[in-house]
């Protein structure tokens, strides 16, 4: 049994030590907006304001630099340690497992195709770019 724990420990140490940046091979970090407007993405990402507040600023122009960490082949607890939420530093991460991210994007892209056919704009391109980036990773 102890060999299993040591093996797991070595894997985790390897993940944390790779390439100078923690978990660089097992995560991608996006802006919140890479998953489309909040009306579309809030179910998987949470609200588009700081997670430690019940509401946002009263200024409609305020945007929150929230980041989304897409991860794979690594426990969420380790991801959270590498990308911690720190209120004092206004550091707000949302965590999305790769499979869930791709499942969300598949549905979102279907809606975006309908939407763009009627409305125009670049939402579909944005979502497809995010999807391609995630698909190219973690293989």
């Amino acid at each position: 049994m102890w060999r299993r724990y040591i093996a797991l420990l070595l894997v985790l140490l390897g993940l944390l030590g790779c390439g100078g940046r923690p978990l660089a091979k097992n995560t991608l970090v996006f802006d919140y907006a890479a998953f489309g407007p909040s009306a579309l993405s809030y179910e998987v990402l949470g609200n588009e304001w700081w997670q430690w507040q019940p509401q946002g600023d009263g200024n409609p122009d305020t945007r929150y630099p929230i980041k989304v960490v897409v991860y794979w082949d690594v426990p969420l607890t380790i991801v959270k340690q590498s990308y911690p939420v720190v209120q004092e530093e206004q550091q707000d991460y949302r965590y999305l497992e790769r499979g869930k991210a791709l499942a969300f994007l598949e549905g979102a892209i279907r809606d975006a195709k309908d939407f763009q056919a009627a409305q125009g704009g670049d939402l579909l391109t944005l979502l497809q770019a995010t999807q391609q980036q995630i698909e190219a990773s973690g293989k």
Binding site: G36, P37, S38, A39, L40, Y42, E43, N47, E48, W49, P54, Q55, G56, D57, G58, P60, D61, D111, D114, F115, A118, Q119, G121, L123
Partner: protein, 231 residues
């Protein structure tokens, strides 16, 4: 019950809007707690909950007056509670569903979702009041036709609770005007009243008590969808 609620929630809304010498914006307070030690902290959702809980209390529902505060975590949660437990209904608002003034896809996309799924951030939408201020300007190649009818019907609302961008901002509404609190303000900068037609947050929903929804239905406010059988 609902009429009584609206009467008193409206009363509290005006009272705080006119008399708030004892209050300070919650974020301003954080910057200098000693300076503002004698003040009560407020912000946009606190203002709304002060009005709503007061309305419930004066209408004789003390339990609801307490329960609503448990949903302070977000404006969506507050409306979800009001809709589920007290049959409130939502009106989706959007001044221009095709050409948002700020260029943000949040507004046309939330309209797309309302049309397709009849909800806004998972809140069921009963009515829509849209296209009441079509965007003008050089970048607009295909202006949205003006719809003045539905916005005018919102003057029937004595008290409503509004959210924008899924609850980034919350506010209260009465007779065509938005009443809001700015959490970095104090004195004259703390509260603001503005016509909904000019409200810079653009899309969102206003939740109203069931009696108000009944009036809006009777008056012909556009429905989010037409039910197959009469309601």
């Amino acid at each position: 019950m609902s009429d009584l609620f609206s009467k008193y929630a409206h009363q509290k809304m005006l009272d705080l809007y006119q008399h708030h010498e004892h209050e300070v914006g919650s974020e301003l307070y954080k910057e200098d707690p000693q300076r503002y030690a004698g003040y009560q902290r407020t912000n946009c959702i606190t203002y709304a909950l002060n009005c709503i809980s007061y309305g419930f209390t004066r209408a004789g529902d003390n339990r609801a007056a307490r329960e609503v505060w448990k949903n302070i975590v977000s404006g969506v949660n507050v409306i979800s509670y009001l809709a589920t437990e007290h049959n409130w209904e939502c009106i989706y608002i959007n001044p221009d569903t095709r050409n948002p003034e700020d260029g943000d896809q949040e507004h046309p996309f939330s309209w797309y979702l309302v049309k397709k799924y009849h909800n806004y951030y998972k809140l069921p939408v009963s009515f829509v009041a849209v296209d009441y201020r079509p965007t003008q300007g050089e970048g607009v190649t295909s202006p949205t036709p003006l719809n003045a009818k539905d916005i005018a019907l919102l003057n029937l609302i004595k008290f409503g609770f509004g959210i924008s961008r899924g609850g980034v901002h919350t506010w209260v509404f009465s007779a065509g005007s938005v009443y809001e609190v700015h959490w970095y303000g104090i004195g004259d900068d703390l509260y603001e009243k503005s016509p909904l037609v000019d409200f810079a947050w653009l899309s969102g929903v206003i939740a109203v008590p069931p009696e108000t929804a009944k009036q809006l239905r009777a008056a012909g406010l556009t429905r989010s969808f037409v039910p197959s059988s009469p309601v």
